[in-house]
């Protein structure tokens, strides 16, 4: 149980070192230094980047500033995805810090949603919670909550208050014991290099025979290509919160502990670079990079 609490805390307090660099095309009065920031994995980009905006506004003229948007290596970053998901999906194998380019002009309307104020983010966040609870408890729990409880959830996320958030969120993580788990597991599988935004389907945590479904079962069901057949080397990486859980991890547990604050289990997967075909130095580079990541602890 202590492990579970630690897991929750580690999940909540996960950070990604990011370097925000202003786009060169932006008109500035003088050169803007990059701005470094530790972004929380569980939060949303527009929620946590006020300082970035302030920093860059210092060097820009007011008339040149429109809505701020971010992109990474050409890909506009959708603010309504949790930051951790964005990182895992796009830049998990790259050298830290994560370099994000900040734009103030030419907002890509087709790719990104506008985010004029924090209430938009709140609305999106609450709708995610409600959707997740609809899957888990047929919306009973979230509807029993009062308005102030919803507000507490949002304020906990906004102000980075773990205890405040989880005081309410634990209600959403309860399930009747005779069920053995939630009704359906709220999850989204994100694939890099894919047209589909994500895979989301109904999936029960307990099999009709009473066995607990594992991550492997889910992937087999939803994304069978990710799981190699016996004997074949691993081809895909399945990452949640930047780590790769073992395939036999029970799904119910994953949903309770490794969900994001919006109660969804966001799973990112991509093809491992080796199997893409990079061989020779590149694979070694990536190998050494990955090894370096794991061994670079002083």
């Amino acid at each position: 149980m202590a492990d579970d609490k630690d897991v929750l805390r580690d999940v909540w307090f996960g950070r990604i070192p990011t370097c925000f660099t202003l786009n060169q095309d932006e008109v500035t009065e003088r050169e803007a230094e990059p701005y470094y920031l530790l972004l929380p994995r569980v939060s949303y980009l527009t929620l946590v980047t006020d300082k970035v905006k302030k920093h860059f506004l210092k060097v820009m003229k007011a008339e040149d500033v429109e809505e701020m948007w971010f992109e990474y290596e050409g890909t506009p970053l959708k603010w309504h995805y949790p930051i951790g998901v964005l990182f895992d999906l796009h830049a998990s194998n790259t050298v830290l810090p994560w370099s994000i380019t900040v734009h103030f002009k030419n907002f890509p309307d087709r790719d990104l949603l506008h985010c004029p104020s924090n209430s938009v983010i709140e609305a999106h966040f609450m709708s995610s919670i409600k959707e997740a609870d609809a899957l888990k408890h047929k919306s009973q729990v979230v509807n029993d909550m009062q308005k102030k409880d919803h507000k507490q959830l949002w304020m906990g996320l906004q102000n980075d208050k773990f205890d405040q958030f989880w005081a309410m969120n634990r209600k959403l993580m309860e399930y009747p014991t005779e069920e053995g788990g939630f009704r359906y597991i709220p999850f989204r599988i994100y694939q890099a290099m894919s047209d589909r935004p994500f895979i989301q389907k109904l999936f029960r945590p307990i099999s009709p025979e009473g066995n607990a479904h594992t991550l492997g079962n889910l992937l087999k069901e939803m994304y069978p290509t990710a799981i190699p057949n016996d004997g074949e080397p691993k081809r895909y990486q399945v990452v949640i919160h930047g780590i790769e859980p073992l395939l036999e991890t029970p799904l119910q547990w994953l949903s309770e502990h490794l969900s994001h604050p919006d109660n969804f289990l966001h799973i990112s997967s991509w093809i491992t670079q080796e199997t893409v075909g990079l061989n020779g130095g590149n694979s070694e580079l990536t190998d050494s990079l990955m090894r370096g990541r794991s061994e670079s602890c002083p």
């Binding site: 580690d10 230094e33 470094y36 530790l38 073992l246 990541r293």
Partner: protein, 612 residues
Amino acid sequence: MAAVTSRRITTDSAGGSDPRGPVLPPGGSGRSAETWKRHIVRQLKHRDLSQHAMFQDLIRFYTQLLEKTSLAKGILSCSLRRPSPDSSSSISALLHQNSQLKKTTGELAYQVVELQQQIKIKECVLEEQHARLAEEECRLAGAFDSHRELQERVERVQGKNGVLKTEYDALLERQRGAETRLREEKVRGGHLVEDMIHLKQQAAARMNSRNERRSRAREANLQKELQTAARSKVTIDSSSSAPTSRSTSPKNENQDQESTEQRHTRLFRSASATSPRILSSIRELFDRKRRGHSVCSLEEDLTCPVGICLSARVPARALHVLDAHEQGINAVRFSSSSDLLATGGTDRVIKLWEVRAGSLTHRATLDGSTEGITCIEFDPTGLRILAASYDKSALLWRLDDSVPKLTLTGHIRKVTAARFSSLPHQVVTGSADRTIRLWDLQRAACVQVVEVASYCSDLVCSENCIISGHFDSKIRVWDTRAVSCVQELPAQGKVTSLDLSADHRQLLSCCRDDCLQLVDLRRRSNDRMCFRAEGFKCGSDSTKAVISPDGCFLAAGSADGTVYVWNASTNNLETRLPDKHSSSISAVSWSLSGEYVVSVDKSRRAVLWSDI
């Protein structure tokens, strides 16, 4: 840091970001549920370490630097931006502003100083008022204290008053109670006094009536006699009348007339015998009140017949046992003629008995002593009885008169012995007041007081000497005429009684330590014989032992009521006479004829013994 510890695990384990991907379980069911959890925990820790921890400090410092530089830049830019438009006017404006500000500061400082002074003044006033308030409070406290003190005093005084009042009430109650009791007692006392007076009056009336009766009887008798005498013829008869036992020895014929005439009148006080004195004697017969005169005549008692016992007989059995008195009997004496016995005791009277036909017959009672009788003696003529009494006096009766003729007072304590001396008209008394007094009967006065060293318990008189026995175990012999101590004889113990033999040669002393001692007075060596017996105990301090009239036997009564008789010459116990007395025998007496022995005891009993 938790990250540091978890690092160790991660470097050891095969987990972590394994490039080969998630490890497939080899057996599937062999792994525990905790493995995946541990894996996840490890992974999270590792991720945090690499992504978070490493960059945390760096980014912080970077941001700080950025802020500092931007601040500096801002200041620089601010300062740079200002001078470009109109600098001079702004400087003068600034200077002007500066001076104005200085003025205002000066004014304000002045105001501040003023206000401060006012504050100081106000503070002084406040302090003064505080001081006065404190003073007043002190005085008030003092007033309170004194008030409280006074209240306490008042309460104390009230308390004391209350206490005094209760005491007073209690005393008043007691006084009233005492008064009522006093009244009651007075009333009772009055009643008692009345009763006593009444009783005394009754006694006096009785006495008076008795005396009156007696005197009337005597008068009547006298009248009758006178009448008969006056009527009868007087025949002068010179021959002496036969001496009767009752009459005195025949003297000269002067006496005869009166003796024959007055033979029956011997109960009266004797008148002198000589005829010229008839009238005076007749007159004196009516003078009853006068005592001391004509107690005895010169002619009387000069010579009297002395009986001689030829042989005493040892008593063997009791002839007569009777309760002779009302209370215990202390003394018993046979008179010089065998027939009369006198007993006296605690009941204050002397009873005279006649021994007739083996029994004691009561003849007369002599009273007049106010307390018990200790010792009785008949005078040699047998007409008078001398008794010593507890009432510190010795009394003399004539046998025919129950009222004592003489009372010899003068001793300070009880008289233990009274004896007729060898000198005529002399009586010797010994007393517990350690004196021996000699009395003259004609004058009825004490002629000499002899101080002795000790309580005199008994006396005997012989021709020349008086012998007294004392509690200090000594027998003292006094010369009669010089009345000085001639000799001191030691006794065995406290002397309780003395007895002289008929020939005045042997002295018997009875001692408290149960021993009888017989001393020969005429022998120079004064050897003694001691008589003891088993079971003989001297019962009191005044037990009397006697020598038999012939001097052969000694008799004494013991504390257990047995009469012991010793043989004087053989020193042996002759006989014991038990069982007749139930208490301690106080005295025995042997009759002159030697026939009878009478013993008396403390329980009123008298026993007549004889050998028949």
